[in-house]
Symmetry: C2
C-alpha cells in the first residue's frame, strides 16, 4: 500500500528547501494522486505517484498531500480504512513516514481543510493528473480547471501562484541532482539488459510479442517497469505503434523503443535491428546515415547549446546522407530550410527526460520551451518538444530517425514541392523499400564538459548488433 523513500531524507529536504526559496510567501500543496481503476474500482493499474510529489517526497502515498509554508513541510495522509491491515499488511507508522521523508509533521488528511484559512488564492498548486484527485483538488482550492464534459487531461492554463510554482518546479527538475542521476543510471542499466534480451529473443517466424516479453521481463526481474508503452514493431514507420502482433520475417527491421523506470525515474532508448541478424545493404546504408546524424547531434549536447539548433543540425546531417544515397538531390542546407528532411524524419530530435519520459509534459510546453520560445508552424519542426538552451545536469534524448510513412509520402501538399523540383528521387527511394523505419535513441546528460551518454552501453554499431540478434533463440 505504501512504499518508503529509497534515498536519505536529506535529499528530499534539500529539494523542498530549494523550492521554498523560489515560492516564498505562498502555501504550497502538491497532491500524490491515487491508483486508476482498470475495469472496476478495486482492479487498478499499478499506482504511479504524481511526479512532482515523488520528486519532493521520494515515495508514493495514495491520496496524500504535501503542504509547504515557508520552510516547513508537512504531509497529510489518508487514514487506513478498516481492515486495511488484513488485506494490505501493517503500514509504516506515522513517525516512520515523517522520519524517512524528512517532513516536519504528519497529519490526517481530513484536517487538510484547516490549511485553507490563508485563503485558496494564497495557496499554490499544480493540477494532478489523476482525474478524481484533480477534481477534489479543484473543489478544495476553487480552481477554474475543474473537469468538464470534454476535458482532456492536458495542461491546465495556470495563473498567479500556480504558474509561479510550476516555473519553480521546472527550474528545479530541469537540472538533475545526484540522487536523481543515481536512479536515472539504474534505469539505464535496466534498459541495457532489456534491449540485450530483446535482441537475443528476435528471430524470423516469432511474434513481436516474444521480444516484448523478453524486454519487459528484464525490467520486472529488477523491480522496474516500462516507463512507457514499449514500441516493438516491424512497422517502425508507424511512430506510435501500440500493437505487437506481427510475425517477424527475415527481411524485416525491428524497431524497439523501450525504457525502464527505476523508483519513478525513466530511461528511453530506441534501437533498430534486423530480424535475420543481418542488415541488407540498403538497410545498412540508411542505418549508417541515421547513426551518423545521431552521433553528430550527441556531440553538440553542451552547455549553452540551443536544443532546436541541435535538432536542425541532425536534420542537416541526415539530409546530407540522403543526398549521398541519391534519395534527395540538391544542397542539404537549402533542403533543410524547406523542411525536406521532415518527409522522412517528421518528429523532433528528442525531449527532456527525468521522472517522466517526456519530463514535466503535464505542464505542457512550459518545461520544454524557454519562456520566450514557442513551437514552429513548419511540418516536422512543429513536433519538436524541446527548445531550451542546455545546461549541466539536463538530460535529453537524442533520437533521429528515417521512416517511409505512407501518409506523408502520399501527401501531395507535403511532397509536391520536392517532387516537382526533382529534389526527391522516388525511383531511387524505391530501392530502399526494405526500410520502413529506423530510429536510434540515447539518453544524453549535459555536463560541464563532454556529454555523457547514460545509455552508451547499449550496442548500436552494426557489427555489435549483428552479433547479438537471435543469440538466445533456441538456447
Amino acid at each position: 500500500m505504501l512504499s518508503l523513500p529509497t534515498q536519505p531524507p536529506e535529499v528530499y529536504q534539500e529539494r523542498r528547501l530549494r523550492l521554498a526559496t523560489r515560492v516564498a510567501g505562498a502555501t504550497t500543496m502538491i497532491f500524490a494522486g491515487r491508483a486508476r481503476p482498470r475495469n472496476y474500482a478495486a482492479n487498478t493499474y499499478a499506482y504511479r505517484p504524481d511526479s512532482h510529489f515523488l520528486y519532493l517526497v521520494g515515495c508514493g502515498i495514495q491520496q496524500a498531500v504535501l503542504v509547504g509554508e515557508g520552510d516547513i513541510w508537512e504531509l497529510y495522509l489518508p487514514e487506513d480504512p478498516p481492515g486495511a491491515a488484513l488485506w494490505h499488511g501493517e503500514s509504516p507508522s506515522l513517525e516512520e513516514i515523517a522520519a524517512r521523508t524528512g517532513v516536519a509533521r504528519v497529519h490526517a488528511l481530513r484536517t487538510l481543510s484547516s490549511r485553507l484559512h490563508v485563503g485558496a488564492d494564497r495557496i499554490a498548486t499544480v493540477p494532478a493528473i489523476d482525474p478524481l484527485t484533480r477534481l477534489s483538488q479543484g473543489a478544495l482550492l476553487g480552481r477554474a480547471w475543474a473537469l468538464h464534459d470534454d476535458a482532456e487531461l492536458g495542461p491546465a492554463p495556470l495563473t498567479g501562484g500556480d504558474a509561479a510554482l510550476a516555473d519553480a518546479l521546472i527550474e528545479l527538475r530541469l537540472r538533475h541532482d545526484d540522487a536523481a542521476l543515481q536512479h536515472l543510471r539504474a534505469a539505464a542499466e535496466g534498459t541495457y539488459a532489456a534491449h540485450l534480451a530483446g535482441m537475443a529473443a528476435t528471430a524470423p517466424g516469432r511474434l513481436e510479442h516474444a521480444v516484448v516479453a523478453a524486454i519487459e521481463a528484464e525490467m520486472l526481474a529488477r523491480g522496474m517497469q516500462p516507463a512507457y508503452g514499449s514500441i516493438v514493431s516491424v512497422h517502425g514507420e508507424v511512430l506510435h505503434n501500440e500493437g505487437h502482433g506481427h510475425t517477424m520475417a527475415a527481411g524485416d527491421l525491428l524497431l524497439v523503443d523501450a525504457g525502464a523506470e527505476h523508483a519513478g525515474w525513466a530511461s528511453d532508448v530506441t534501437r533498430t535491428w534486423p530480424v535475420s541478424g543481418r542488415y541488407t545493404s540498403t538497410q545498412r546504408d540508411l542505418y549508417q546515415v541515421v547513426l551518423a546524424a545521431q552521433r553528430a547531434a550527441i556531440e553538440r549536447v553542451r552547455p549553452g547549446a540551443r536544443y532546436r539548433d541541435i535538432h536542425l543540425y541532425a536534420a542537416l546531417e541526415l539530409t546530407r546522407g540522403l543526398v549521398e544515397l541519391g534519395i534527395f538531390r540538391g544542397e542539404p542546407e537549402g533542403l533543410v530550410e524547406r523542411g525536406a528532411h521532415a518527409l522522412f524524419f517528421p518528429h523532433g530530435l528528442g525531449h527532456l527526460l527525468g521522472l517522466d519520459v517526456h519530463d514535466m509534459e503535464d505542464l505542457g510546453d512550459r518545461a520544454g520551451y524557454a519562456p520566450d520560445r514557442a513551437r514552429a508552424q513548419q511540418f516536422g519542426l512543429g513536433y519538436l518538444r524541446l527548445d531550451r538552451d542546455l545546461a549541466p545536469g539536463m538530460l535529453v534524448t537524442i533520437e533521429p530517425g528515417f521512416y517511409q510513412v505512407p501518409a506523408i509520402l502520399a501527401d501531395r501538399g507535403l511532397c509536391g514541392p520536392f517532387d516537382d523540383s526533382g529534389a526527391l528521387d522516388r525511383a531511387r527511394l524505391a530501392a530502399f523499400a526494405d526500410v520502413r523505419g529506423i530510429r536510434i535513441e540515447d539518453d544524453v546528460l549535459c555536463t560541464e564538459g563532454a556529454p555523457e551518454v547514460l545509455t552508451a552501453a547499449i550496442p548500436k554499431d552494426i557489427e555489435a548488433i549483428e552479433r547479438l540478434v537471435g543469440r538466445g533463440v533456441g538456447a
Copy 2:
C-alpha cells in the same frame, strides 16, 4: 489505436439481440471509455475497454459509444485527430468496423447528441469506469452520478432504465456463451504456462521479482497481459500484497496469485509452492487440508447449488482438517457456525469470473448477489463476493486458504471467544509457524454435469509441484 473483434460478427449480434429483447423500448448507450493517463496526458496505461462494451462489440474503440434501439445497433466513433495516420498508422475504414462488429451503421461521435431527442430519461446506460468518460456520460444524459469531490469509482446507485439495463447485462454475462468460453480457455492456457514458468524460476536467494518476471513474460509472449496485479509473495498472509521485493528463503512458501487476460477475458489462479522445492512436514499438513477443502468445494459446483453453501462447506472441510491437526478443538460444525474458520480463512471462497476478474463488480453486489440476498454481517462471511444459485455456463473461482494474519490473531474481539473456550490451541498453532499463507485457486465452470475446471492442468498436488519448482534456475 484500434483493434478489431477476434470472433465473427454474429457472436456480438447475437449478444446484442439477446440484450435488446430484455430492454425493449429503451434506447441503450454503452460507453467504451478511454486510456487513462499515467503521469501525463500522452503517457497512458494500456487501454482496457469497458467490459460491457467489449462484451457487445468485441473490441475496444476509445471514446466510442454503442447505441441500441429495438434491434438496431449503431456505433458512434471519434474522428481521427489530424496527423493520426502519421503517429498511429491507417485506421480500419468505417465500413470495415461496421462489417467486423456487425453493427447496422457507424456514425461520427459528434452527432451522438442527435440521439437525445427521445429524452435522456428514455435512454438506459451503465456508468463507465473511466472518470472522464463517466463525466461526459453523466453530463450528456443528465445523470445524478456525476463525480463529486470525494467520489470513488464504486458502483453508482442505479434507477429506472439504467437498473433494468444493468440487470439485463448481468443476466447475459452470468452464463458464458461458446465464444466467451473460447477466450476463457485461452486465458487459462496462458496462466498454465505462466505458473509453470513461475515455479521453474523459484529458488532460495532470488527476489520475488524474478518470479513475477517469469510469470508475466509468458503472458506477454502470448499477446496476453495480467488480468490483475500479480500477487507473488513469501508473505501470503498479506492478502493483497502488492510488493515483490522480498528475497525468497529456503523455508518459505511462495504464494502466487496470477492470471492471464486473453482478448479481455480473465483467468484467476493461485498456487502456493515451497521456495526450496520441498514442503516441510508442517507445510505439507496444512497444504493438504486446504487442498482437500478446495477439491471438496469444486465437486459441489453444480446447477442449483447455492454458492454460499459451498463456501460454508469449504469452511467446514477446512475446520475438520484443523481439528485433526489439533489447531482447533471441538465439533467442526459448531466451530464454523461460530465463525472460527474465519480466523484462518477470512475471505470468501471465490467470485464470478469473466471479462472482469471479479466479474461485473463495477455494478457492485448486483451481479454477485441474487436480488433477495445481501452480505452477512459475520466476520469472514461478510467478505463473500458471491451468493447466487449456480447454473450451467457460470464460471466461478474456488479459492480457500489458510493464513496466519497477525492483525487477526492479535485481535481479542475476534479470537477471544475461541481462546477462552479452549477451541483454539495456540501452542499447537505455534508448531505451524512456517506457514504464513496458503491459497489454492482454480476457475470452475458449472455445467449440466460434473464441474469443469478450466485450470485443471496447473499442478497442485504436492508431488507434481515439488518436481517443478526451481527446475529452470541456472538452466
